[in-house]
């Protein structure tokens, strides 16, 4: 496998293979030397056109724990702000002969385009509201760690489905792993056709949230209110916030972060034993190590990457 652009191209088998490897990487952090030499001397470029503390830092850390060299390019202050096209930026970075480019971009399909313009492996770290496959992987990993197999489990993804790449990739990943997924939120944030598109149920109220084994709350962005998609954050919270009052004791809760306490999720839920949010963050590094390993270590192709640095 050359690139990771979407979760669907992995299939269940691919997801399981990567997550099994992620499990083996989880011990690395607790070693005296928190590194393995798997990608020594290879260059990984993080190209982020959107700010993202946790995704950038976990990709950086994952690359470093595999002993790769990492450079991070952010759109602010770079040639991107000087009007350089994505294609030209990639041509420039490609000249450094990276083994992989990790790209986060506000436009759907950007990572796919990048994959056409570079010899490197491309990892989609989020493109518009389209896909975020490594988030989906870490979500499955977290849940597997807690409950084992996902087959037959009911999972509700609640919130702003329209603008969420997490919803799309994670819903597909959960479905691939055998779970039944319901997408829930106000009708103005459930795009027409989304259920058919993702093979999920749709719900416009939380009346039946008791059916869920796991509730996955999405971040509600403040700009949705000014955009007119919801009347107010208060009205949203009244009807759609994932709160202790709405949940059975045995229901688990996930969230991609960062959370808006009191908006889409109750603070009490975040801090409760049912919350897997901290585990999700922790899973990020091992899962991204496994993805880099899957794409790069397997393919020991041309020696060109080895010349880039003498570690």
């Amino acid at each position: 496998m050359k690139h990771l652009l979407g979760i669907e191209e992995l299939g269940r088998e691919g997801i399981e293979r990567i997550l099994d490897r992620a499990e083996s990487f989880e011990g690395v952090a607790s070693r005296d030397i928190q590194k393995v030499p798997a990608l020594r001397g290879r260059l990984i470029v993080n190209l982020f056109y959107e700010a993202s503390t946790r995704t950038t830092s976990s990709f950086e850390l994952a690359a470093k724990r595999l002993s790769a060299d990492v450079i991070s390019v952010r759109s602010s202050g770079s040639s991107v702000e000087k009007g350089e096209s994505l294609k030209d930026t990639i041509a420039t970075l490609d000249a450094y002969e990276p083994a992989a480019i990790v790209v986060r971009h506000p436009r759907a399909g950007a990572a796919h385009l990048v994959s056409k313009w570079t010899r490197a492996s491309v990892i989609n770290a989020g493109d518009g509201a389209h896909a975020h496959p490594t988030q989906a992987l870490l979500d499955v990993h977290t849940l597997r760690g807690r409950i084992g197999a996902l087959d037959g489990r009911n999972i509700w993804i609640v919130g702003d489905i329209s603008h969420s790449r997490v919803a799309r990739s994670t819903a597909k990943a959960f479905s691939l792993m055998g779970a039944r997924v319901t997408l829930a939120g106000p009708p103005t944030l459930l795009p027409p056709g989304i259920g058919v598109a993702l093979g999920c149920e749709e719900a416009t109220t939380l009346a039946k949230i008791g059916d869920a084994d796991i509730v996955y709350a999405l971040r509600m962005q403040h700009e949705r209110m000014t955009g007119g998609d919801i009347p107010s954050l208060a009205e949203y919270s009244t009807h759609y916030a994932v709160t202790e009052a709405r949940l059975r004791p045995d229901q688990l809760v996930m969230h991609p972060g960062p959370v808006n306490r009191g908006v889409e999720i109750g603070g009490d839920v975040v801090d409760s034993g049912r919350s897997l949010i901290a585990q999700q963050v922790a899973a990020g590094v091992a899962v991204r190590m496994a993805v880099l390993y899957e794409l790069l270590a397997g393919a020991e192709k041309d020696g060109r990457m080895r010349e880039v640095t003498a570690a």
């Binding site: 796919h112 385009l113 389209h130 795009p191 056709g193 598109a197």
Partner: protein
Amino acid sequence: MNARFGWKGGVPGNVLITGARVVDPRQKLDQQLDVLVTEGVITEVGPVGTITTGDSTTTVNADNGILMPAFTDPHIHLRTPGQEHKETIATGTKAAAAGGYCLVIAMPNTSPVIDGPDLLRGILARASETAVIPMAQTGAITRGLAGTELTEMATMMETGAAGFTDDGIAVRDAGVLRRALRYQAVAGGVIALHEEDSALSMGAPLNEGVISARLGLRGQPGSAESTMIARDCALARMEEAVIHIQHVSTYESVEVIRREKALGTRVTAEASPHHLLLTEEACSTLDSRAKMNPPLRTEMDRNAVIAGLIDGTLDCVATDHAPHSDDEKSQPFEDAPFGTTGLETSFAVLYDELVTPGLISLPLLVERMTSGCIPFGFEPPTVAVGQPANLALFDTRAEWIAGDGGWVSMSSNSCFAGRTMSGRISLTLAGGVIVHTAEATQ
């Protein structure tokens, strides 16, 4: 009145086209015939082998050919002035000649917008120097396409405007459109409408539906188009004005136009090859060549557009030829401009996808390919003795892969690129002049 088109002209042709299936519904022709063109005029139409010619006449053996009146396109973008890196009058009309056209009508959304008599005069003068086939030019309905102030439509008609349109965007303010429709009584000229309620479409890059939901992109609902058509037909009916609906793409839109025509509303409409043949599925890989406005819709919409073209609800085929450079089209889907080229592929792809499977008869397709000029006040070309030779010869055995070997157009953003087409236009005459031969695209 000045000439209503610009064209550099050429040497009138002397050519005998022999053995072709001659199809012209206006003459009720559909049989193998020989057609003789002398000094650019059709001088004889007769049984195969019965026409004798002099030495100065080229004979084209067309046993595998279909000879038709050349096509007219009511809706193309030539990008002159202002965006000559995408297309020029010369390259765009040459592409049209390669597609079998003898007349194209250019949209005014250039840079600057053709919104006054002087700019219009300038374009027609440029066309008279460089246009390979006759090219007519529409003027804007509103200054700068801003949707607020009417242009000098009466003076532009006197200068040679083909009609008026703000194509690319709708006339959002119903009061402004109403004034334009009332003013038509003195200015003349059809008012052609791009129908899109931007409050509903929100400039979204594709149709609203399963594909947009899957991709996480905002979509344009079909109602953004159909509700505006309903509004504008009601206004035209009230003002007894003449309107032409551009690039109809949805089931509801076809229904509205069918109803309005039954009511006697003076409305004509066009369908584009891409809306006849493709659906939103083509956007599923985020290939920006499938990004056009109005967007590709669903299979139900596509079938309704075909049905509308067959029953005459939609009067004609319009390519909406919209060239863009590779740099512009290689941006992410949302950032890439709307539009596909279409002049070089329209007949070939419609022949393969609609005529060959038996969805539309060949004579009907020929009628729809030639009728686009009528709403704009031009006589459609026809194959009859005494008529200027406006002819398109289609070689049914000239298989080609669209885009292989390049395009005549300066731009390559064709939504049909890579398709194998079973036949190709091998000869075009416009105004009696041979403007395209098979050698030009080999």
